[in-house]
Amino acid sequence: MSYVIIGNSFAAIGAVEGIRKHDIRTPIIIISDEPYHTYSRPLISYYLGGKVPEEKIYYRDKDFYEKNKVEPILGIRAERVDFDKKEVLLRDGRRIPYNKLLIATGGKPITPLLEGIEKKNVFSFIKLDDVKEIEKAAVKGSRAVVVGASFSGLKAVEALVQRGVKVTVIDIMDRIMPRVFDERASQIAKKTLEKYGVEVLLKTTVEKILGAEKAEGVSLKDGREIACDFVILAVGVRCNTDLVKDTNMKINRGIVVDDRMRTSIPDVYAAGDVAEGYNFIEDKYMEIAIIPNAYKQGETAGENMAGAEKSFNKGFIMNSMPLFDLSVISAGLSSETGDDIRVKTVFKEKEDVYKKFYVRENKLVGYLLINDIDRAGIYTGLIMSGEDISLIEENIGEDGFGFISFPKEARKVKMLKGWSV
């Protein structure tokens, strides 16, 4: 009898901790193609920027596996799952039997159709091994092109600047962080990037990576050529469903799961970036590729694998991104989708403070904060609780917003007993 988890990141660790809430004995096997003790993938940008050394990139303490009776099988790829025999087949030929299986294989980088993509010095920006390669090329005074001005692309840009690399960042959209930022927010971020010497090119795409064997530049759709020493592709991730792609498991873009993270195959669960969980703000099942969600989905899967009945149906997108001296936090909806959304904005031009709130049917369903992020979680709490905010809507976004802005009874119950969700 054992639990098997394929994956070793946030969802997998959440699952171990979820299982161990109910079952402290049954062994857990973690299988990962990466050879490392569980580590934090977003820390790769801090590693590259010289802020966090490799020995501090771990996500849980070195004794985590031992303490939690986990047998890690690291550096070996799971090739296939035999759902009838309930076995995971490893690349080295081993067959690992399971009673309950969690697939937490995460996301994989989208590789754009691009001439010259096979050249040397063209990198992804997802895993520790990616940055171990990038750091060889990213020497002081070198030049880089980063394709994609979203979260991970921008964190790559920041890390490269910290290494003394001259960076050009390119995005096909007319804005930085197109899924989260509007024009004004994009302008604020662009100003920050340019202050740090980053060249920002929007509304254009890379057509071709130039160079003989290794990348020496890129040519853009508009005909321009930009010389560089290496290219980082950060155009997004998609669900890494390779392991189960030719099975009868139900898959859309990601593995279809219910609120208890069960897949369409008995005793098989999925969680994290590989799964399509319920996004309660969008009211649909979709990939919610963020860490808090991966952890909670993993934890929920683990609890159910251990026999508990636990649902998680409160997923939604949320992100915090410090970028140079800019602070950005966003959660829930981030654009005016539909006529039923009311938008409230606060803009302080001198301080580059920008706040934007989305209200639907008197509920807060999303927000964006730039450079005034303190106590942001109270807004997140309002999104999660889904309560009617009409009585405090005028206070939303005000300076000093806090529980003092709430009606007395609601404030007292929240602070003394907790939020109701």
């Binding site: 959440g14 934090s40 977003p42 820390l43 801090y46 802020k51 966090v52 501090k56 771990y58 996500y59 849980r60 860490i291 808090p292 952890y295 909670k296 934890e299 949320m318 992100n319 915090s320 991104m321 410090p322 602070s327 936090i329 959660a331 992020i373 303190d374 106590r375 942001a376 979680g377 109270i378 997140t380 709490g381 999660m384 609780s385 309560e387 009617d388 905010i389 009409s390 009585l391 405090i392 000093g400 806090g402 529980f403 003092i404 709430f406 009606p407 007395k408 009874e409 609601a410 404030r411 007292k412 119950v413 929240k414 602070m415 003394l416 007993k417 907790g418 939020w419 109701s420 969700v421």
Partner: protein
């Protein structure tokens, strides 16, 4: 377990009716996290780099109250933390940020529905919050030193109540 109260099931609560907004809780919290734990004067005169207070005082006259980490049973900040620095101690129940591993990404600030995690940007960016004075092993400094007993420790409520919602409640603050 350290000497003093067992904080595993305790939280710090505020009585806004008797809080006078004097902010001594902040002062004592700061001092308690310097090497001069029981000496305000030395803590403020001799310590050049003082920590942030772990308590937030909200004030809009005539109302004021202090608020600090709830040390939640299911802490959002811990589940959201991208480095693993924010952890709930299984023995004490206290949520502690390992400053050596925190990188100041502020995901905990995004996640905490009580808004009680602060940005410490005095040197390296790190998240700063109430640690229940766990190192001192005594009643938290803010509670001990509140002149009006507007802060007290009590049992933690893990159940959540529908009464917490904004609507369905008569009147405004």
């Amino acid at each position: 377990m350290k000497k003093g109260i067992n904080p595993a099931r305790k939280r710090i609560y505020a009585k806004e009716e008797v809080c006078i907004g004097c902010r001594l809780c902040e002062i004592h919290c700061i001092a308690a996290h310097t090497k001069y734990k029981n000496d305000l004067v030395k803590a403020f005169k001799k310590v050049a780099k003082r920590p942030l207070p772990g308590i937030i005082v909200e004030e809009r006259k005539p109302i004021s109250f202090g608020l600090q980490c709830r040390h939640c049973a299911e802490p959002e900040c811990v589940k959201a933390c991208i480095t693993g620095a924010m952890q709930k101690d299984p023995e004490t129940g206290i949520v502690i940020n390992d400053k050596a591993r925190c990188i100041g990404c502020w995901t905990c600030i995004l996640a905490c529905p009580y808004g009680v995690i602060m940005r410490d940007i005095s040197e390296r960016k790190i998240a700063s919050k109430c640690d229940f004075c766990i190192e001192n092993g005594t009643e938290p400094a803010c509670v001990k030193n509140c002149p009006n007993q507007a802060l007290y420790t009590g049992d933690a409520f893990d159940e959540i109540s529908d009464n917490a919602k904004i609507t369905g409640i008569e009147g405004r603050a």
